[in-house]
């Protein structure tokens, strides 16, 4: 049955149904609007998150690179320490315990006085020697 084969009175029925849909109250329309926005929102976070992850990841990588660079520049190019937990990094020797302290971020002031601690450690080694 094509549309043209429908009885004529169905045109009036269509108009009445349209009127009933237009006559919905504000509360109902508000809830419909919220439902629509909620349905659309389920797509948005995933896509926006994917878009925001790229710059966030780049910033994080840069910050990490900078921190490693600063830390590496501050490590004294002195004689090897006699600690059993010492590790050789790029020609300099760094105590693993020190690395843990720096990585933990508990005392960032310590990084600023790294030269002093290295000197102090060297003094201790001399005194023992």
């Amino acid at each position: 049955m094509n549309k043209s084969e429908l009885p004529e009175w169905t045109d009036q029925a269509r108009s009445l149904l349209d009127e009933s849909a237009q006559a919905l109250d504000a509360t109902t329309l508000s809830r419909l609007n919220r439902s629509r926005q909620a349905a659309l929102a389920q797509r948005v976070p995933r896509r926006r998150a994917a878009w925001l992850l790229l710059p966030a990841g780049l910033v994080g990588a840069c910050a990490l690179l900078l921190a490693v660079g600063v830390w590496h520049a501050r490590v004294p190019q002195t004689a090897p320490l006699a600690s059993p937990s010492a590790t050789v990094v790029s020609g300099s020797t760094v105590n693993v315990v020190d690395m843990d302290l720096i990585a933990s971020g508990d005392d960032m002031e310590m990084m600023q006085d790294l030269d002093f601690y290295a000197w102090l450690d060297a003094q201790d080694q001399d005194d023992k020697g």
Binding site: P7, W9, Q12, L29, A39
Partner: protein, 200 residues
């Protein structure tokens, strides 16, 4: 000097692609805005309860966006109504099971399916039952008559008459054969005519 423009991989989120997606989202928003009122009325006729109708429409919106939003916009309307029709069928099934335990004897309008279809065939020269009803009374009478129809007949009527779907699209939406759509619609028209004439 010739420059080669490197085409961006489809999976990359470039600003152009984000803009395209936002445009698509606006289109989707407009589509849902365009169908939500009729969908609510359709659900309300099925449930006779506005709160439940709103829940069903919201559920249908979520299901549609989740599963079919990526489909071509031209296919959205039948797909949205397919999701809604599925939700209405589920609701109707749950209600039937519940009422089976509450009522020992219920008379279903589907029993009318065995009536003589020739006797129910509309007279094309008749102005129609709604013309004999005035203004808001016609709306209320149609509303009551539609609410009394069996779910499948009502869905066939609303999709064909109100949404303007052809028989094939209605059959796809209701997940039944085109023959079933014609049968449901024929019975719906006959039942509506009868009920509206009784009301006039």
């Amino acid at each position: 000097m010739t420059h080669t423009i490197a085409l961006t991989a489809p999976a990359t989120w470039t600003p152009a692609r984000v803009e395209a997606e936002n445009t698509g989202e606006r289109t989707l928003d407009q589509f849902l805005k365009g169908v939500e009122r009729r969908a609510l009325r359709m659900a309300e006729l099925a449930t006779n309860n506005r709160d439940e109708a709103q829940d069903l429409v919201q559920d249908a919106m979520f299901g549609f966006v989740r599963h079919y939003a990526a489909k071509p916009a031209a296919d959205w309307a039948p797909l949205f109504y397919r999701v809604l029709d599925s939700r209405l069928n589920d609701w109707h099934r749950r209600r039937s099971v519940r009422s089976r335990w509450l009522q020992v004897w219920t008379r279903s309008d589907d029993e009318d399916d065995e009536r003589d279809e020739i006797a129910q065939a509309p007279d094309s020269n008749d102005p129609g039952p709604l013309l004999r009803l005035a203004g808001s009374e016609a709306g209320q009478a149609l509303n009551a008559a539609l609410a009394r129809l069996p779910l499948r007949q009502r869905q066939a009527f609303l999709l064909r008459v109100w949404e303007g779907f052809d028989v094939a699209a209605t059959a796809s939406t209701m997940r039944c054969s085109e023959g079933s759509v014609k049968t449901h619609l024929s019975r719906a028209l006959a039942a509506l005519r009868r009920q509206l004439e009784d009301h006039a």
